[in-house]
Symmetry: C2
Subunit: 352 residues, 2 copies
């Protein structure tokens, strides 16, 4: 029987409780589809800072290296906000993980589920109802990782992009669009940035390999506006690291259902890191009321991209849709529904 | 009689038609408040490229240097989109104007007029109704003007900020907040950028000079989300050049009424450049249906900041509010209202 080794980094806040539901669901699909999932847990984020003085201890990194994929929860909380920004749990765990495993490609779907259109802060008159966007974000380059420094009187950051870095992320976007609605909107600031001029050139050249996919270029400021004015115009958004950070969060806000949105960070091999788009929600942690759907859908992405278990991934996604349709949702989705974290996991397991 | 010399750069698209209304209104207030406005027009943007091969001809720049302020229309259109990004009308006129006159401070109000809340694509259940935000954007530093370059295989941009650059824009934000709701939210990405760490330090230090004003720091990705989720939480947004470019456009989209939003770009002396937040709208140019309100409100800001004619500025703003309240609006605001560009200018003149 095929066996997949998964590093489980539940993290802080609601991380552990929603992770428990994702593991329950992984267990259920593995039985149904006859493969084995071997999970091993390790500390990360604030919990790891408390125990070992660092957000990503060597033992945690070692476990990740020996695994086929990482299922990541969420990290951070008020306890650690007084740390210097660069040492905060989220940054100090995610950036080294991305760099170590060359996770250059971040995929974040943002869609408005018609049944839950009410969740979106966008008025339906914008026809946001049809919104179904995949944000493809470059994750290991740009201003995040360029040279930086400071003196007493000034500071600087450098954004660099190489042709090779742009090519590989562009290909991901075009491949993805080919399986969706055949449209890529590439985001840049080519009227100001040299890296954006190169970005635009390389993306345009790669587009020629995908004649069925339409390519548009859009300035980041205009994109931040258009996403709100008519989100249904987009299919795949192709972004550099910084612009993708901003637009994917704007997209999540527009979808209105942070608790439903998963993400995948990939490196072109089978390895990947999978995490919910939302945060550790310390205000509701430990109460058993957090929405586990984003974590469960992240596990589905893990099965799809790191294990090639497409049928099992689809089974989870279908089960999630069924439980949503039947109104089995936590209070962030419907305050009157009365279901808790565990009820959602149980229902999804039943539908599998 | 006091006389103000205004350089009028109407530009392309709807620029000339909305500018005509702003000049009509300037004329009316100058009579009422007993000062003289001497306007001189010059070509800018696409029109200047067509006539002289450059978006900002020397004669135009010279006129600006001899004036007390610039009233700018809007530039660009489909005719010039095939030019290389760096030569496009908007960029090739605005960036040199900002740099030449050291216009380090961009002010962009974004508010939802309760009477026109329907214009906002944001659902009223987010209590966006109360939104009234002033975006204070640094305009002559950061990644826009840092060293940039490229080779065959890579490109780079540099973002630099000095303490002095951050101090002067921070003071503008705190002064403005003191006259509004006493709250500054400073935007950065201090968990990633060295310039943001410096930004946060300097802003925190300057805040001590304004004890009545509350200061919050927020990461740009979170801000892009929060602006949509609960825009009423913000008063003054303090942003660097790039983040301000993105958030001010997001803000305009949320307000939903691009045709109503003015902007001011200042340098700490009386000089300034004033322009509508919206673009040249080539699709409706020449039809006499464009909304002139943003251009008219830009003229009000000009009187306030460059001429010290506060009463005249207020008179324009009050007249605009009255005409809006009476439903005298172009079709972007209410398709059924049946008013044209000129009707709006005439009505505002009547209310003055
Ligand atoms: C924690 C932070 C460094 C990170 C980023 O900016 O990439 C986060 O915002 C994200 O998007 O995953
Ligand atoms: C034209 C462009 C360079 C400019 C900017 O990015 O500053 C514009 O988007 C703006 O915001 O005024």
């Amino acid at each position: 029987m095929k066996t997949y080794n998964i590093a489980v980094l539940a993290g802080d806040g609601i991380g552990p409780e929603v992770m428990a539901e994702a593991l329950k669901v992984l267990d259920a699909v593995s039985q149904k589809f006859a493969f084995a999932v071997k999970t091993q847990s390790a500390l990360v984020g604030g919990a790891a800072i408390d125990a070992h003085g660092e957000a990503l201890p060597a033992a945690t990194l070692e476990l990740c290296k020996q695994s086929d994929a990482i299922l990541f929860g969420s990290v951070g909380g008020p306890k650690w906000t007084s740390l210097p920004p660069a040492q905060q749990p989220e940054r100090a765990s995610l950036l080294p993980l991305r760099k170590t495993f060359d996770l250059f490609c971040n995929l974040r779907p943002g869609k408005i589920y018609p049944a839950f259109a009410d969740l979106s802060p966008i008025h339906p008159r914008t026809s946001s109802l049809g919104m179904d966007i995949l944000c493809v974000r470059e994750l290991t380059g740009g201003i995040y990782f360029g040279e930086k420094g400071r003196t007493d009187t000034a500071a600087f950051d450098t954004q660099t992009y190489s042709v090779a870095e742009i090519e590989r992320i562009a290909r991901v976007a075009f491949e993805a669009a080919g399986k969706r609605s055949n449209k890529v909107t590439s985001i840049d600031k080519a009227n100001v940035l040299a890296t954006s001029v190169l970005w635009r050139e390389v993306v345009s050249r790669i587009a020629k390999d995908y004649p069925a996919v339409a390519l548009d270029h859009m300035y980041i400021d205009n994109a931040a506006m258009q996403l709100i004015r008519s989100p249904q115009q987009f299919d795949v958004l192709l972004c550099d690291n910084l612009f993708g950070d901003i637009l994917s969060d704007e997209l999540a806000a527009i979808a209105g259902s942070l608790g439903l949105l998963p993400s995948a960070s990939l490196n072109g091999s089978n390895f990947g890191l999978y995490e919910p788009a939302g945060g550790s929600a310390p205000d509701i942690a430990g109460q058993g009321i957090a929405n586990p759907v984003a974590q469960i859908l992240s596990a589905a992405l893990l099965l799809r991209f790191s294990c090639g278990e497409e049928a099992a991934a689809r089974a989870i996604e279908t089960a999630v849709e069924q439980s949503l349709e039947q109104g089995i949702v936590t209070r962030d989705i419907n305050p009157a529904a009365g279901y808790n974290t565990r009820d959602i996991g149980d229902a999804i397991v039943r539908f599998i």
